[in-house]
Structure formats: C-alpha cells, structure tokens
Symmetry: C2
Subunit: 330 residues, 2 copies
C-alpha cells in the first residue's frame, strides 16, 4: 500500500478577492495533499491535517476549530505579527508556529522614513493648501540630528533604525530588557521605563509585537511624557496605543503629530475622532505591503513547506509564549 | 583725517516682514558703514558703496540701479541661484558675485527624499481618503532598487544623490558634459542627451541652476521620453520645466507624478491647471527653508564680509557667465 501524502490545509480569505488562493501551491502537489478552505469550513478541513497555512493571515478562526486539529504539527502565518492567531491551548501545545518575518522589514522602514520626512517637511499641510489653491511659504524641520525612539527590537525595528540612521537621525530603542551596545540600536531602554526616557525623542516609532506586555503600552502617562511637538508613528499594532489618550495628547499636548497605519479596530470606524485631525496621517494597514508582497509571502511559505517535507529545520519559528521570533543569541 | 570705512549696502525686502533686516549686522559696525535700503531706493544707496548684500534674495532691482554702482567690488546673494540677479553688464564687469551655496543642500535633499517616499507610499492618496473617512488598502512601491536621475551636478544635486543612495536608490546624473566615475554620481550624461537616457529613471530630480542652457530643458520631447509612471521632482527653478508640456505628460502619460516646489511664475497663479491635479504635489518654494535658515544665511554673509574686510579670499564665488559656483577641479 502506497504511503499517504502529508496533508496541508490552507486557510484562504472568504471573499472573492484577487490572490484568494496563494500562488504556486501546485509546486507541492507531488509531495503533499493540499486542502484549501475558508474560515467557516476550517473545522472540517483540519482533521488529519499535518500542517496549516494561514494565507488569511489575520483570521481568528483557528481557536474555534482547534478541537478538530487532531494531528497538526505546524502552522505558518503569512504575517509578521501572530497576535490574531495565538491562544493559550496553541501556545501550550507542541504545534510549531512560523511567521512571515523578513518580508515586511524594509517596506515598513521605508514607510516610517517617509512619514518622518513628510511631517518634517509639512507635506500634509502643502497638500491641504494645494486643495485651496493657497500659496503659503513655511519654514520646515531639518531631519538630520533629530532623535528617534524605536519601541520593539525585532527585525522590523532594526531595519527602521538602519534607515533612520542613514539620514543622520539618532536612534535608541525600547525592548523587554535594558542593555547598552546593542549592535543595531546602541542603547536599549526597558519598555517599563518609557515614561522616564521617551521625552528625549523627537520621533517615537511603535514596532513592537502585540503581547500582553505591549497591550496598552502607550497610555496616557507615556503619551503625556513625550517631548513637545513629538511625532508618534504606529506601524505595529493598534492595541499597543490607547487611542483616546492619543487624541488627548494631540489636543492638549505634548504630542505634535501622529502617523497611524494600525488601529485598535480595523477598518477604523467612521466615527473615530482621528479621521478629521490635521495632526494625524492615516493609512489602511498597508505600510509593509509593497507591490509583489503576496507573491513574496507565498514563496516564503513554499520554502518553509519544502523544508518541513524534507525534515529540515523551519525558518522563523515563533516563541509562542513571547509572541514573536526571538533574535538569535550572539 | 581718519580713513573712511568701506560701505556695504544691504538690500532688504520692502514689506514689513519678520527678518526684514538681516540679524547680526551690528557685528560689522566698527569696520564698515552699513546702508540698509529697499528696491525703490537702491539707486540712491549704491553710489560710493563697495559691497552689496542682497538680503532680498530674489530681487531683480540691481539691473535697474546698475548705473549708480560707481565703486562696487562685491555682491553677495542670500540664495543658491543667482538667476534673478544676473544681467550682461554685471557678468561682464569686475564685480565679484558670491552666493549662499551650502545652506540649502541638506534640507533640499531631505525634501527630495521625502517626496520620493511620499509618492511611493501614496501618502497624498492616504490623506485624501482620510478626508473622506475612507479606509482602502493599496499596494505601494518599494523605493530601494529604483533608479533616479539627478539633473544638475552642483552641491545640491550631490547631496540629493547621497541621501537617495542611503536608501538604496541607484543614482546617475546629467550635467554640462558627459563623464564616467564622478565621485558622487558615477555616470554623468550630458544634459543635451536627456531624451536618450531619461527613460531609464524611475525618479527625475531637477537640481540645475537656471541658465540659458537649462531654460526650458525639460520640454515636451524630454518629458515624452520618461519611463511609464516616472516621478518628476523640481526643486531647481520653474523656468527649467515647460509647465504646459508637464500637464500634457501627466494627462496622457508617460509621466506618473510630479512634486513641484518651484514654478515659472511664483506664487503659482490661481488659474494654473496644476493645483487641481491629484498627480501633482505643490509646495511654496520652501524645500530648503528649514527653521533657522535666515539666521544661517545672515551668518554666511557675515563670514564672507569679514573675509572681504580682511582682504581674504571670498567663499562661494560664482562664475558669472556659467551662473553658478564651479566645482573645484580635482
């Protein structure tokens, strides 16, 4: 009797979108049985499955269908953050979780640098004046010599630091533990000490994964301690930032500007007070999504799948209790 | 009889603006007689003057008052471009002209990099959607790996090249003469050959001084030869660009976007078709004007004035026939 092929279940988005199914799955055809499914049918597609690929990368469906995962070894998520997937039973299980680390680093760093420069040069103000056919000369800000604090010392935070340094912005970071002489950041302060240190930064970038430790990290106290006129950029997760406290810190100071790509609720509700603010620039959770990103995500999964089928070590293995891929110890 | 002090006439803007008179002139009090004047009275303030400082840096008044310049040795212009000042009699005279080279290089390069990133990440599109409370995910452009052509090989063009290279944009330049292995640009093509080479650039930056050679350089033929969707950035002078041809190249292609800080007529007339275009970002001739720029311009003049009073060599001496400060030959 022929040995049966390993089974890979692929969770796809429900709606009729381009790229509803990841490109290139046929490359695995000879070596695995592929079951594409959607959230509503996930519980039926999990029994017997050895691996699960979350192409629908922000789906929360796995938790509900977990009882049907009777032989699951591996879950790959096509996202840098695994917060939407994670739940206690999964964290405590033997199932290996891998993520899309690496795909978004440079695109997000470019977005952050663009936000820094756009605010410094008042490009939103120029566009609004253009809409009114108003010619008004203003003095703008020099970016070289400013100081940025990057919250989150993962791969995305490190790439942000590199691009900001490339234009002579001074950078330091906040992470789980304070340390000096980090190869990419130099000084890393403890996220617990944000209030004491955040005031030295002209630019604050949240690039932290969403974990219990980072949920609500940027609260009224922290936002009240920023430097006068500081620019907050959030490309991490919306839940790290207290949006009501953000509005207060913009309204009454000290915060000067916020560039927000992520929100506690997405799409951002139509009645959010953030939409109308001239000191806020909003984008639709897209900072890392450059042309070709879905192909890159699919290729990254295929590469890990071949490793898995070959019994090799997987890339981007997430520490399920920490909620991110730990940095290799040097 | 006491030796009389040298006379420095300072041409100030006519209107009641902050910084109407350059700060720090009192530092020269013991060594020179300072005559502050405005355009209407310039002819009365020039007789006997040994030096002229154009604090009103875009003034065209010198040409009209030239007959009264009976002992002028030196003119300093608080601008990077001397096109507004220059006329044949001045070019043919022995009067030395110096300019503000150096003050604007880095700020303008930051503005250009900001424009490159803002377009790539569709920040204007995000702001317009924000105004309509519209959440719409889009794929954006990766900047690393794009190619930029910088027109103008002066100090500003070189700083632009350095900042673009810092984010992994490939750069080449266009100048008066073609050459390879330029220390900052690598390949420099001849501006006469723009049509043949401009199509390889995703980003085109005009940083050329306005001279007879560059007036109308970016005409219909050149703009018709750009790559599909290319981004044109003009921080040089408006007259280098044919604005009617620009509108055509945006309307019918191949040009994709234009960021314009300078215009043939400034302020940009209210009936210009540029204002309403979503593929154009307009700012009010301010790309180099970071906070503190006027103080820096005044200090730069004072430094040159002390050199002049001490009989030392002046900085930033303009080649009056070329219309810019030549690069030292190495």
């Amino acid at each position: 009797m022929a040995e049966s092929l390993p089974i890979i279940t692929v969770l796809c988005p429900d709606d009729d979108v381009p790229h509803a199914v990841p490109p290139g799955l046929d490359e695995l055809e000879d070596r695995a049985e592929i079951r594409t499914t959607t959230a509503g049918e996930l519980a039926d597609a999990l029994p017997g499955a050895d691996a699960l690929f979350l192409w629908d990368f922000f789906s929360r469906a796995v938790s509900d269908a977990w009882h049907a995962a009777d032989s699951l070894e591996w879950i790959h998520v096509a996202a840098a953050g695994v917060d939407k997937l994670m739940f206690d039973e999964l964290a405590d299980s033997d199932v290996v979780v891998t993520n899309a680390q690496g795909i978004f680093d440079r695109p997000i760093a470019e977005y952050v640098l663009g936000a820094v420069l756009a605010r410094a040069k008042d490009m939103p103000g120029s566009l609004r004046r253009q809409q009114n056919r108003t010619w008004e000369h203003r003095e703008t800000q020099r970016v070289g010599g400013l100081t940025a604090l990057v919250i989150g010392t993962g791969a995305i935070g490190r790439e942000i630091a590199a691009l900001l340094r490339a234009v002579d912005v001074e950078v330091f970071a906040a992470g789980r533990t304070a340390r000096e002489q980090d190869p990419d950041f130099g000084t890393v302060i403890a996220s617990d000490d944000l209030v004491a240190h955040i005031g030295t930064a002209d630019i604050i970038v949240n690039a932290a994964p969403l974990t219990p430790q980072t949920t609500g990290l940027l609260d009224a106290e922290v936002l009240g301690a920023v430097a006068d006129g500081a620019h907050l950029i959030n490309i991490g997760r919306g839940e790290t930032l207290d949006e009501a406290a953000l509005v207060d810190a913009l309204e009454a100071g000290p915060l000067g500007f916020a560039t927000l790509d992520v929100f506690a609720q997405e799409p951002l509700p139509e009645d959010s007070p953030l939409w109308d603010r001239k000191d806020v620039l909003i984008s639709a959770h897209m900072s890392g999504d450059v042309i070709g990103w879905r192909d890159a995500l699919a290729e990254q999964f295929l590469d890990n799948a071949r490793r898995w089928l070959d019994g090799e070590e997987l890339h981007n293995v997430v520490d399920k209790h920490k909620g991110y891929v730990p940095r290799p110890q040097s």
